[in-house]
Subunit: 550 residues, 2 copies
């Protein structure tokens, strides 16, 4: 059986666009005499429509688009992903379905069994789990259709609990007993820098365990914070990879299943953590803009490493003609900061403006002088600088329709070393899931592999917010390698303070840092959406109470 893997970039709720993309691929497949074309999970709606799924008219609209796609399936079998109505009188409204269509008819609807409801996933909020396990026979092949998490039955639970396995059910165990010729898995598997290798491992293990080939179709592109990396796969029953689609871009791959256990395994695509993070962030920005109908970005360029890296990524995503930067020095800004920022802007060939905020800062302080009379200068005055900059950037954004990119990194966001309504402003946080130590590594990756664009001085000088004279980040924080180790252990690994102490033997520092993380939940609650590149990003996937004692 000749199959096509259609790895596409979908847009949530943009049903016309999604259906048209699907139909285009079906037509292309017909020209290639394909028997079966496979699209990814929720390909009709985009992943995830979240609470749009509670609107009946959205589901009705999905049904209309499924019908439209169905009209194009003469002579070809097609598997698409869509929400479908649960016809049972009790239970959730919907199923997360894989719909098998051929010759203008829906032959069978397969529903997802394992519904991820952790981290960024909320599937049990909307979907009823499947309990029926059947195959479909098409052109002499018996096919098991599964949906994403259905193959992740060995998913581990979070935290250091003794128990390890999250799910009690195991779809492939049931399906394998029905002797399928191969398994199809349609996915919406969000990128994080370890996900591609985890995914391969899961697929390979399943193929070997059940002695079954797996055809895996993922999607690509970004929807706000979530980035999909593609990398669709075909694994033979020995667990060898016989096809690997492109990463971070659309792809259309053809494979004859008759050859699935004959064809020699291919060499897996090289993976470089920083190359992938870079690609992910570029696609994250690009799709945020494209799918929102915007093309131009603005950011504040300080001469520091975070804004320089954000700019480099933005220029790659949007083109230098579409990115503008504002340099907003005060009296506390060092000369090298302005020079480095100008240098960076020139290297990127972007439009930039220098806006001296000194007079505004003084006018602000003057306006408040009666009320603030007798108080000492301190954090308030530092925040005023940050908020004036934030307001200037927003005024530029409002005036010229440039979307403001936030330049904060994950280490800062974690400890709350940022000003709400100041440097926390922005429609999208590009580096909010990138620890400071990784910010440096990404800069090196770009300078070494993409273009030598980030000034050396920006990378080598000690990091500083420059909100008061001679301020340095490590005046009040540990060095970033120590800080990031503590943060990673706590946030990604959910370790306790005493467990972290076994790695970083600094009890007081650990307590100080964890307290900062917990006390600044209120700030992160108002953060822009953050492009997710790790297994635990701030935002939708990490839900902490605000008014709580930790």
């Amino acid at each position: 059986m000749k199959i096509a893997l259609a790895q596409l970039n979908y847009h949530i709720g943009n049903l016309d666009s999604n259906a048209n993309k699907i139909i285009e691929s079906i037509e292309k497949a017909k020209q290639n005499n394909i028997d079966l074309i496979v699209f990814s999970e929720l390909s009709v709606s985009g992943y995830s429509p979240l609470d749009m799924l509670e609107h009946k008219d959205f589901i009705t609209d999905c049904e209309l688009h499924i019908k439209k796609i169905t009209e194009h399936t003469e002579g070809i079998a097609t598997i698409i992903g869509a929400p479908t109505i649960n016809p049972n009188p009790k239970g959730k409204n919907l199923y997360n379905s894989g719909i098998f269509i051929s010759d203008k008819k829906i032959l069978k609807t397969f529903n997802k069994t394992l519904l991820p409801t952790y981290d960024i996933f909320d599937e049990y909020r909307h979907f009823e789990p499947n309990e029926i396990f059947e195959l479909i026979e098409y052109k002499g092949s018996k096919i098991a259709v599964t949906i994403c998490e259905d193959l992740w039955d060995e998913q581990r639970t979070y935290g250091n609990f003794d128990k390890e396995i999250l799910y009690k059910n195991n779809p492939l165990q049931y399906l394998s007993k029905l002797n399928p010729d191969f398994v199809v898995n349609i996915s919406a598997s969000p990128y994080s820098y370890n996900q591609a290798s985890n995914r391969k491992e899961i697929l390979i293990n399943n193929a070997k365990k059940y002695n079954l080939p797996i055809v895996y179709v993922n999607q690509t592109g970004a929807n706000t914070d979530l980035i999909f990396d593609g990398g669709s796969l075909i694994i033979n029953k020995k667990g060898e990879t016989v096809l690997e689609a492109k990463y971070f871009e659309e792809d259309f791959q053809i494979f004859d299943t008759d050859e699935i256990n004959i064809k020699s395994p291919i060499i897996a695509k090289e993976t470089n953590k920083y190359k992938n993070i870079y690609k992910a962030l570029v696609i994250g920005i690009k799709d945020y803009f494209t799918k929102s109908g915007f093309s131009k970005a603005v950011l504040g360029l300080s001469g520091g490493v975070d804004s320089a890296l954000t700019l480099a990524i933005a220029v790659e995503a949007l083109g230098s003609e579409n990115v503008a930067a504002l340099l907003m020095p005060t009296t506390y800004s060092s000369d090298h900061s302005i020079d480095d920022a100008i240098d960076m802007a020139k290297r990127c060939n972007i439009k930039y403006h220098i806006v001296n905020i000194e007079e505004m800062r003084l006018k602000f302080e003057d306006t408040m002088s009666d009320i603030f009379a007798g108080t000492e200068q301190g954090i308030t005055e530092e925040n005023i600088q940050a908020r004036l900059r934030g307001s200037i950037l927003m005024s530029y954004s409002n005036k010229f329709g440039h979307i403001l990119l936030n330049t904060s990194n994950k280490s800062e966001a974690a400890v709350g070393y940022s000003t709400l309504y100041g440097d926390m402003n922005g429609a999208l946080s590009v580096l909010g899931d990138v620890y400071k130590t990784d910010v440096y590594k990404l800069c090196h990756y770009i300078n070494d592999n993409v273009a030598d664009i980030i000034p050396k001085n920006t990378i080598t000088k000690p990091p500083s917010a420059e909100l008061r004279p001679d301020q340095k980040d490590n005046d009040s924080l540990p060095e970033y390698d120590t800080l990031d180790t503590i943060l990673f252990s706590y946030i990604e690994q959910k370790m306790s303070a005493s467990e972290i102490e076994k790695i970083v033997p600094k009890r007081k520092t650990i307590k100080f840092i964890l307290d900062l993380v917990n006390k600044t939940e209120y700030k992160r609650f108002q953060s822009p959406p953050i492009l997710r590149i790790s297994s635990k990003a701030f935002g939708f996937g990490r839900r902490m109470p605000i008014v709580a004692k930790f």
Copy 2:
């Protein structure tokens, strides 16, 4: 059997405080010769600890506090609520449990069966559902212990889907077959203005259906956005109310179960929608401050109705000595605005300052004049005013440790008529779940029933943002009664545009408004937490994609 209903105000994660409160009530119960004292759902941890539940050390800490409580149960039975570890090798890490303790021993742990995973609830994210149904026999009484949603088996699904019942399971059906003498239900039932009557209906229907008395213990107090209204109940097997605890405050009620079917039913407490919303918002502010360790608030007072109402509520919650207001006129502010604002501040007997932002506004525009040369004045300049005000309020907050209260209402938030990093600033949104039409009704309720504190002119004048000359809200929006009907139908009732048209026969207006709602998700994503008083508040309970086509 003599039982006590302990209706307390818990603080998430503050295990010492929660355990001490529980122990105090146990000691009080002992003095009253109580046989069984009942606390509410997750009383040890507070509701809901959200992803704190993924930290093993948090669970260990809960266990230590359960042990401490257990030590105080000599001669008395106690039911507390806490997360407990699921000992099975597969499934979620935890159960949401009701723990039955007596004579320093845990006699039985009951786990929650129906795990709400909709709106603000995420219970299936953390908890494994119970599948075992047993009673406990204590001092000759057979007791069925259930947890909150366990009695809501007829919960309906969202939206206008044909299917109505969300759950496939029904704990009381199993438990009633074991012939209990009465049912205990421990709850954390968040307030919304219809919830108390829904809750009574559910309890009464269950009592009648199974011919069983129900002892229902809810909690009170607020945790960030969620407000618990108390109102614990005892219903006899005929479905009559024989005990009703206080609303919006802690309570300790004693009842002899031998009298449960003898005692005459009581007259239900009167309910007034606006009285309850007012009480809820007061407790919402009070607990946000108390539980965060703050006492003082600041807000921007414009002379308009939203900030006046917020101030009235804040003064009731925190005391007039703890609330400060800033009046920040520009050249577009009308005289009556300043007069009304001063009038309101004086009526509330609070400290206020007038900060004229005109010079700063001009300095800001002057600073940007080169960059903005040749452009027209418009939204950008309106937003500059709002952002300067927001920055001034935050500088006051930073300088004096006053927490900024946001004064936006739900109608504004819905259509995005507010400025990010300007009037959207604040640690807590007081009115973000109150439609503008209800803002007026609340003002009347307060003036008529609490104190005549809100100036008549503030209530009667046409609403305006006063960001440009002669601006009125209805220049660009429909009248608020029409607007709020459309918004309620869409947001709370999830109706489609064509369904709304049957109520408000204005197709173009509906489309315009729904488009505004959907296009401004990005703003609400960065909104402060909003005190929830409706069945569908913006925030954690309404999860919409940002980059999506609606």
